[in-house]
């Protein structure tokens, strides 16, 4: 019995096993973190998922988006409109938002491919699209324009309405489900043939086309997945926050908040966004509480506005300067290099006649 399980597990790839482990471990988080700490954990999980979704485009497909707020906002507003205006469950909003995000992704992906916008031009196009949605949302009366929409408060807890008592661990579990689904989806996509085509197109579009890969198709798949998963995050965020307004949905800050964990953790790595999200949010909490209660000799800093964000900016500069592959990316790369060197050495020694080593 145990053997079978082991064999079954070994058939699952490393990432899937890690996802299962993380999922299991995370089930116990609410046991240890309550109240505001659980809130922090919830935010870590949410932004890990959002940034992972962003990573499909920016990391794996090489399409650096500086306007992911567009997808996020579409998801948030689809849910908000259906729930707050039409009284329809956020579960429906989730699906509608995800489809909307995917469709918007297809549009963006097609236009940028058609007009060959790369590098800086691609970055600026994504930014411009998010800004345009922001400006339109500000004046769009069906979604209450600049004033925004809020979640109608219910008296009872409900998964169907995605609403629970404040402080309920269910919010955490909701985000955890979102994260796990996102990770499984990304893992499946990137391990599939399609996923490898996406990476091939990123590495060299011409070479990939010469091997029969339709670069537009690969790109569109990546952008649609990224858009749909990010939009789903918008749904959960709205349910968690109870309120949405254009700056919270489409603002440039949202785009930056989505991309930073991926960049800090390591773009194009599976675990980078998770590591980055945990690191950024925990560091943010620490600097905030540091400024709130600095040690005695730094007490003049107490309550000085700007200090924590200045530290944050300096930290970002530092990480990009010294860990250009991101925290996880750099570690993973070092490990990879070391392993390759070992393989190399083993090969060299095996060629030197120590053949029995290989037979082990």
């Amino acid at each position: 019995m145990q053997e079978t399980l082991q064999r079954r597990l070994s058939g699952i790839d490393v990432n899937s096993r890690a996802i299962i482990l993380i999922g299991l471990a995370a089930l116990f988080v609410p046991q240890f973190a309550a109240g505001s700490n659980l809130d922090v954990a919830t935010r870590i999980v949410l932004f890990a998922a959002l940034s992972s979704a962003w990573n499909i485009m920016a990391g794996y497909a090489g399409l650096f988006s500086f306007g992911h707020a567009a997808f996020f906002g579409i998801g948030a507003y689809a849910t908000a409109y259906l729930l707050a205006v039409q009284g329809i469950s956020p579960v429906v909003g989730l699906v509608v938002g995800a489809i909307g995000g995917a469709l918007f992704g297809l549009l963006l992906g097609y236009l940028t491919f058609r007009y060959k916008l790369r590098g800086a031009y691609f970055v600026l196009t994504t930014f411009a699209f998010a800004e345009m949605l922001y400006l339109i949302a500000m004046k769009f009366s069906p979604i209450n324009g600049a004033v925004g929409l809020r979640v109608p408060i219910r008296r009872e807890e409900s998964w169907w309405w995605m609403q629970f008592a404040p402080n309920s661990p269910n919010y955490f579990y909701l985000m955890l489900i979102y994260l796990l689904i996102t990770l499984v989806a990304i893992n499946m996509l990137m391990r599939s043939r399609t996923g490898q085509y996406i990476v091939a197109v990123r590495d060299d579009e011409d070479a990939a086309s010469a091997l029969g890969i339709n670069p537009l198709r690969s790109r569109l798949i990546a952008v649609a997945w990224s858009g749909a998963l990010t939009a789903a995050g918008g749904t959960f965020y709205f349910q968690y926050l109870f309120f949405i307004e254009p700056p919270l949905a489409f603002g440039p800050n949202i785009s930056v908040e989505i991309l930073l964990p991926g960049v800090i953790g390591g773009m194009g790595t599976f675990w980078g966004p998770l590591v980055g999200s945990g690191l950024l949010i925990i560091l943010g909490e620490l600097t905030t509480s540091f400024v709130r209660q600095p040690p005695e000799f730094l007490s003049f800093l107490q309550g000085r506005s700007g200090l924590d964000l200045a530290l944050y900016g300096a930290l970002l500069i530092g990480i990009i300067m010294f860990l250009p592959r991101g925290v996880y990316g750099t570690l993973a790369h070092r490990w990879e290099v070391r392993r390759e060197r070992q393989v190399h050495r083993a090969e060299a020694s095996s060629r030197d006649g120590m053949k029995e080593q290989r037979d082990d």
Binding site: Q196, V199, L211, G212
Partner: protein, 258 residues
């Protein structure tokens, strides 16, 4: 993404040439890069395309490979017009190509690089892996199988270019200066490899600077000069053609022979 293996396609016009280039011209802005080029490539042969720098070889190569469309003229493959077919469709027709500037997928291993190509031939990932290994063995990259493609030395990258194109099991192989940038000691095994590939029935169109290799390999040669066809025929005919010697070969030929 790619269709069934080229072997399964009906051999349309099987007694005609495999590749037929008819009156191809290409204009970049006001400048004429190719002017009225026509020739054909027979199944199972190696066709060399030579000419001095700036003769239009690469332009012609790119027109054939579908990188861009000619301004006028037509490219036919197995009797079917493929002018301006997007390059990713070429692969499914059984046309593979290499790049002059090598383009490995730097984030993947050698095996994964080749597997991207063999994926197109089968639905099973395992089969694709096996096929990839066979190709890797053929080009002699076994030792590098699990190394990152970005780490390969130049000669290895050339072989990887070739391996990926072979991974498509092509009918026609378009080779863009596969020998350039190699030291003579590295050329020899690669030339042998190309001969071996020909022996499996693959047709090749070879753009090359290295004369020695072209002479040794080609069944037919086309010489381009200033975007126009200067001469064509067997290596002997071409090398004896006084216009070719005058326009192009003179120095380089002596150099190569010497």
């Amino acid at each position: 993404m790619t269709e069934a293996s080229p072997g399964s396609e009906p051999q349309a016009a099987s007694n005609g040439p495999l590749l037929e280039i008819t009156n191809v011209s290409k204009r970049f802005g006001g400048l004429l890069a190719l002017s009225d080029v026509s020739f054909s490539v027979q199944q199972g042969t190696i066709h060399g395309l030579i000419g001095p720098n700036g003769a239009g070889k690469t332009t012609l190569f790119n027109v054939v490979a579908g990188t861009f469309a000619p301004t006028t003229g037509k490219v036919a493959y197995r009797g079917a017009d493929i002018t301006g077919t997007p390059s990713h469709r070429m692969a499914s027709l059984g046309i593979g190509r290499t790049f002059q500037i090598m383009k490995p997928f730097g984030s993947m291993t050698v095996h994964e690089n080749v597997r991207i190509a063999t994926y197109g031939r089968t639905d099973s990932t395992e089969e694709a892996s096996t096929e990839a290994d066979a190709v890797i063995a053929m080009v002699g990259l076994e030792r590098w199988r699990d190394r990152s493609a970005g780490e390969l030395p130049t000669a290895g990258r050339k072989r990887l270019e070739l391996a990926r194109a072979l991974g498509l099991a092509p009918n026609l192989l378009l080779l863009d200066e596969v020998l350039a940038g190699l030291v003579p000691a590295e050329r020899k095994p690669l030339i042998d490899l190309l001969k071996e590939i020909r022996s499996t029935g693959v047709t090749m169109l070879l753009v090359e600077h290295v004369m020695q290799a072209v002479m040794a390999l080609s069944d037919e040669i086309v010489v381009l000069h200033h975007g126009q066809m200067l001469a064509s025929g067997s290596p002997r005919d071409v090398i004896d053609d006084p216009r070719v010697i005058e326009a192009y070969l003179g120095e380089e030929h002596r150099h190569a022979e010497g």
